[in-house]
């Protein structure tokens, strides 16, 4: 009887909801649904591994410096400044006690070195460019672990960690020509920012990326871009997958809406979708993006690409995609509105199915309109009526609000323990080829510059990016949302990068709007060191872990974690895998990227559940070598541990908190 009453009530409520939903959407919350045809099938079929060498073209000589952007006027309405939403002045970084470092890792079942720069660069017979940072995608289920990074994919056994496939480049996986054909010189699309999700209800793996297309086979972007979604046809990711290319330039072409992006602040141009992230509830799979001008100077707003889980699992000839457009919270554009991932069988069912999201309101300032780089509020979002994604007329509704939180502050760059930087040392060397003329190791990469010594000298050990304050991975467990962001912290008397984490208690009120408050929160910091790019996952038993990179005065970039439970109790810092040397990759050096260099790191880690087991993935450095070793044998490979232009790696850790 009770069930029937509930069903009747639910039916009435649903009917009422559909009436409500017939009303026009609020400004800034438009949405549209369109059909996306299948782009065919694919599978992970690794090609040959390329040879160690400094190959040409590694750098594109045809690209000149940009001469647009900065000085132009922007005609798009800018963020509102509602009273009290942002701090009037920058907030001080919180003072935080240092965590202890645990002496052992009893929770860890095993760890393994994941994909690294060498895998990335040498995949597809070496028809790739060097690329940073890795951008960690990870999904686990049905006995498989899928790791996907910029710009390669691999499958492991989740029970043993053994590799089940080789390394495949993402250009080939998604059906595109190689990133660079080293025989013909033809460029393929840029296939970047990978993400991964396992749907436990349908036993499907989903990998998605942003693709930027080129003018013919040149290196120039043609303006078109897409969110590409690959879904495994079965629960076995080593088998067939089906691909869908979702046009995403949002300039009115190829069925996209026109979001008013520009080439120069006024001339219409394409948008593009940056920083895609993935989450799911019982009904839908959600990919959120940050939409910028592709060629112009502006940020637009976050977008949600919503799909039916059931439809994806069936991988039909055409799927339905609903775009929830131009998100805003309290008058400010949504920025990195990260969708929650849920544990199997544990979903929010309010309002005919609800997916929650979290965001911050600081970022780097240009997106949210917050000029301080600091905040003490976060954005709480809900997409309701997600069951409608399984109908012919999807009609999900977005609602959002700001809630109070602890302070978070734009973090400083991360220092790292001093060690060998053979690429940097090579760029500083003026003796290798002609000591009299001052032509040194750098000649491996560059022609002789107009002045000697070369203008980039001296190169120094870098300070990797610590991210900004954008929200990182969001997890939904037992009615609670968990997430974290990078934040400046005062720890041990120094300003360092640390982690601010949040446990949020969300709900949908009687008016169908999202409500909630922070139930628990805290910081994680380590004296003399930095903790960056956190990712959090909580099992259905209420036990979870936060993954991050540890680096600083006493640590080379290392893979770390801390356990966390439903009461908000955070354990000590564990070093899952100690870094072996400093980051020594091309974005660290003026010679390659200009002055000042900006060492790319992250841009995000990953943490996922598999039952009560947690899988973590973080960037770290798994090798070290001297300049002499760098120059011996295959140049730059240091015995097959790196390439000439990079030494980053990823670490996968399986643990049971």
């Amino acid at each position: 009887m009770r069930n029937r009453l509930v069903l009747a009530f639910t039916g009435a409520l649903t009917a009422a909801l559909f009436l409500v939903m017939a009303a026009p959407a609020a400004p800034g919350a438009a949405q549209g649904t369109r059909a996306i045809p299948s782009g065919g099938t694919t599978s992970i079929q690794p090609g040959a591994t390329g040879a160690d060498a400094i190959q040409s073209p590694e750098f594109d000589p045809g690209i000149a410096e940009d001469d647009e952007g900065g000085g132009v006027q922007v005609n798009r309405p800018r963020p509102g400044f509602k009273n009290g939403k942002f701090p009037k002045n920058p907030l001080d970084a919180p003072t935080v006690a240092s965590s202890a470092v645990a002496g052992s890792n009893p929770e860890v079942t095993f760890g393994l070195q994941g994909l690294n720069h060498r895998d990335q660069r040498l995949a597809n017979g070496g028809n790739q460019f060097s690329l940073e940072p890795p951008d960690q995608g990870l999904c686990v289920g049905n006995g498989f672990t899928v790791e996907v990074i910029n710009s390669v994919i691999r499958v492991y056994s989740s029970s043993t960690g053994s590799t089940l496939t080789g390394v495949q480049d993402l250009n080939t996986f998604f059906g595109y020509p190689a990133a660079i054909n080293r025989t013909t010189g033809a460029f393929g699309p840029d296939v970047i920012d990978p993400i991964c999700h396992y749907d436990p209800e349908h036993q499907r793996f989903v990998v998605a990326i942003t693709t930027l297309y080129h003018v013919g086979t040149t290196s120039a972007f043609n303006g078109k871009n897409s969110i590409d979604v690959a879904v495994s046809n079965t629960g076995d990711p080593t088998g067939l997958w089906t691909i869908y290319h979702v046009p995403a330039q949002n300039d009115g072409t190829d069925g996209t809406p026109n979001h008013g992006c520009t080439l120069d602040g006024s001339t219409p141009g394409p948008c593009f979708q940056d920083y895609p992230h993935i989450g799911a509830d019982a009904n839908g799979l959600y990919i959120t993006t940050n939409e910028y001008d592709l060629f112009g100077p502006s940020f637009n707003a976050a977008q949600i690409f919503a799909f039916s889980n059931a439809q994806l699992a069936a991988h039909p000839a055409s799927i339905t995609m609903t775009l929830v457009e131009n998100l805003n919270v309290d008058g400010s554009p949504g920025f990195t509105v990260w969708p929650a991932t849920s544990n199997a069988g544990d979903y929010a069912t309010d309002q005919n199915g609800t997916e929650y999201f979290l965001s911050t309101i600081a970022g780097d300032g240009s997106e949210t309109g917050n000029p301080t780089g600091t905040a003490r509020r976060i954005g709480l979002w809900a997409l309701t009526n997600t069951a409608s994604l399984n109908t012919s007329s999807p009609n999900p509704q977005i609602t959002s609000r700001l809630i109070n939180s602890e302070t978070y502050v734009f973090p400083p760059k991360s220092d790292q323990k001093v060690g060998n930087i053979p690429l940097g040392e090579c760029l500083n060397d003026n003796t290798l080829f002609d000591p009299t003329a001052g032509i040194g190791c750098w000649f491996l990469f560059f022609n002789v510059p107009s002045t000697l010594p070369p203008p980039w000298q001296p190169e120094v050990e870098s300070k990797p990016d610590s991210n900004d304050t954008r929200m990182q991975q969001v997890w939904y467990a037992n009615g609670q949302l968990w997430s974290s962001t990078d934040s400046a912290v005062n720890v041990g008397g120094e300003l360092k990068a640390g982690i601010a984490w949040f446990q949020v208690d969300p709900k949908i009120n009687g008016a169908g709007k999202v409500e909630g408050q922070v139930k628990n929160q805290g910081y994680l910091a380590l004296a003399d060191n930095n903790l960056t790019y956190p990712a959090i996952a909580i099992g259905s038993n209420g036990k979870g872990a936060i993954a991050f990179t540890i680096l600083g005065e006493t640590f080379y970039p290392s893979a770390g974690y801390a356990t966390i439970d439903a009461s908000g109790s955070v354990g000590p810092i564990h070093v899952a895998a100690a870094g072996l040397g400093p980051d020594d990759s091309f974005t660290s050096y003026k010679a390659f990227v200009g002055t000042p260099p900006r060492t790319r790191w992250g841009d995000y880690g990953a943490a996922v559940t598999d039952g009560n087991t947690i899988w973590l993935a973080s960037e770290y450095i798994a090798q070290t070598c001297t300049l002499a070793q760098y120059l011996s044998g295959a140049i730059g490979s240091c015995g097959g541990t790196r390439t000439s232009l990079g030494n980053w790696s990823t670490r996968l850790t399986k643990l049971t908190p």
């Binding site: 970047i192 920083y275 390659f592 790319r600």
Partner: protein
């Protein structure tokens, strides 16, 4: 009211000299302004960050005292009295984050300082 405020702000900014050359100043800054990232990942196939024409404002004690517009290549040079300055994009609507945010101008000379303006793209 908003139009009025915008007008006042515009007039105030217009009153601040925008420098493209150092003139006869004996101290100041020079260098390059880069903008990046230009795409989500940094590929060796294309520049991660590029020279850009951007108007930077230099402030002391909360008051903007000078502006400079970098050339399309990113090169700039500005005469400034010795001291510590806060640097921001002059067009507040842009709100890009500039690094470094504070600079020191030495006594009796020019110091090279290169700026990176964060597009937020990752």
């Amino acid at each position: 009211m908003r139009v009025l405020i915008a007008g006042i702000v515009s007039a105030a900014l217009a009153a601040i000299p925008t420098s493209v050359a150092s003139g006869g100043a004996s101290s100041g800054l020079d260098g390059k302004v880069l903008r990046g990232a230009m795409s989500p990942a940094c590929l060796t196939a294309r520049p991660c960050q590029v020279g850009a024409s951007i108007v930077l404002a230099f402030s002391r004690h909360g008051t903007t005292v000078a502006q400079v517009k970098s050339a399309p290549t990113g090169d700039y040079r500005i005469g400034l009295a010795p001291g510590v300055y806060t640097v921001t994009p002059a067009r507040r609507a842009r709100l890009w984050r500039v690094s470094p945010q504070t600079v020191r101008v030495p006594v009796g000379g020019y110091r090279r300082v290169d700026f990176l303006v964060d597009t937020g793209i990752r």
